[in-house]
């Protein structure tokens, strides 16, 4: 299948998700369950996407583990997103020279 068709579907769905509620919605969601569901979804999605995929992310299991440990440690101490992201990569890169 042509890549352009995938991109159109991807972009179309993503745009509609953003546009429809922002444009039409003028009051609050009442259902506690639905509100809570939407609240937890981002964390569930990101967790499922990150683990176990992060362990293969550098193409080398050992450097991926080191990068993950650094990311978890810095995230635990509330470092900014960009610091955590780049430090994980730097750790994986530097450790790569020692194996």
């Amino acid at each position: 299948m042509s890549v352009i068709i995938y991109i159109i579907v991807m972009a179309g769905v993503t745009y509609l998700i953003r546009m429809i509620p922002f444009t039409l919605f003028r009051k609050k969601i009442r259902s506690t369950f639905f509100r809570s569901f939407l609240y937890y979804i981002p964390y569930a999605v990101l967790s499922a996407m990150t683990i176990p995929a992060i362990f293969y992310s550098t193409g080398n299991f050992a450097t991926s583990i080191i990068g993950t440990i650094v990311a978890v440690a810095l995230a635990y101490f509330n470092f900014p997103l960009i610091v955590v992201a780049l430090a994980a990569s730097a750790a994986a890169f530097i450790f790569g020279f020692f194996i």
């Binding site: 444009t23 639905f34 996407m49 193409g59």
Partner: protein, 233 residues
């Protein structure tokens, strides 16, 4: 109007730099999966989202169905609907339907976080914020996609962890504070590991959907979020 636009640009500069380096990782990832530089840049220009794009290029590379693509984007990006509803409470009087339709394109985690912290939000403030942030996102993707081929494998490999590092930085601080988030994370991690090693026949996009819907539904039932907490998100 012009002042609002410039203020949006100024407030968006940190987002721009953050996006520049994260999308660099996306560019490398996309090209590594066999996409062209133009496709990678086109995806970033039209989608402006990290997790959805990472899952999306995975589906393209695996030759997944369009239904899988649509459902995956729906589940991963459904949070933008909630953010849109939340942000709609802050819009000023000049925000008519046309402005809402245009500005909604810029709702990302980071842009939402900056915009919702304002007292009131005008269309041109959103445009400034989105323009500078999207520039970083698209330009970074181009650099990563173009450099992915010429960088040494040790460096381009190491950049592959950038996005996942950012995801961890989003998940971990709230998981530390809130039991519900922690349980949501643990259930999702457990299920995705099961899909990876046991239920291998389920494709990546559907696995993410199933893991996150089950996890979020369980937590919504067991740890309902009180009204006021949702307001500060």
């Amino acid at each position: 109007m012009k002042n609002d636009f410039l203020k949006g640009i100024r407030d968006g500069i940190p987002i721009c730099f953050g996006y520049l380096s994260v999308s660099f990782g996306f560019g490398i990832l996309a090209v590594g999966l066999g996409l062209s530089i133009l496709s990678a840049v086109g995806i970033s220009l039209t989608n402006l989202t990290s997790a959805g794009q990472v899952a999306g290029v995975g589906i393209i590379a695996a030759g997944g169905s369009l239904l899988e693509m649509a459902l995956t984007q729906l589940v991963i990006n459904i949070r933008y609907s909630l953010m849109g509803i939340s942000l709609s409470q802050k819009l000023d009087g000049s925000f008519n339907t046309m402005h809402r339709m245009i500005a909604s394109f810029g709702i990302t985690d980071e842009i939402f976080a900056v915009a919702v912290s304002q007292k009131s939000v005008s269309p041109f403030y959103m445009y400034g914020l989105t323009a500078i942030s999207a520039s970083g996102w698209v330009f970074g993707t181009f650099l990563g996609a173009a450099a992915g081929n010429i960088l040494p494998p040790s460096l381009s490999g190491a950049m592959g962890i950038v996005l996942y590092g950012m995801f961890l930085a989003i998940i971990i601080p709230p998981a530390k504070k809130e039991k519900g988030v922690l349980v949501a994370v643990l259930i999702a991690v457990f299920l995705s590991t099961v899909f990876e090693f046991v239920l291998k026949s389920v494709s990546g996009g559907f696995a993410i959907i199933i893991c996150s819907v089950i996890s979020a539904a369980v937590c919504a039932a067991v740890f309902p979020v009180p009204e006021e907490k949702e307001a500060e998100e």
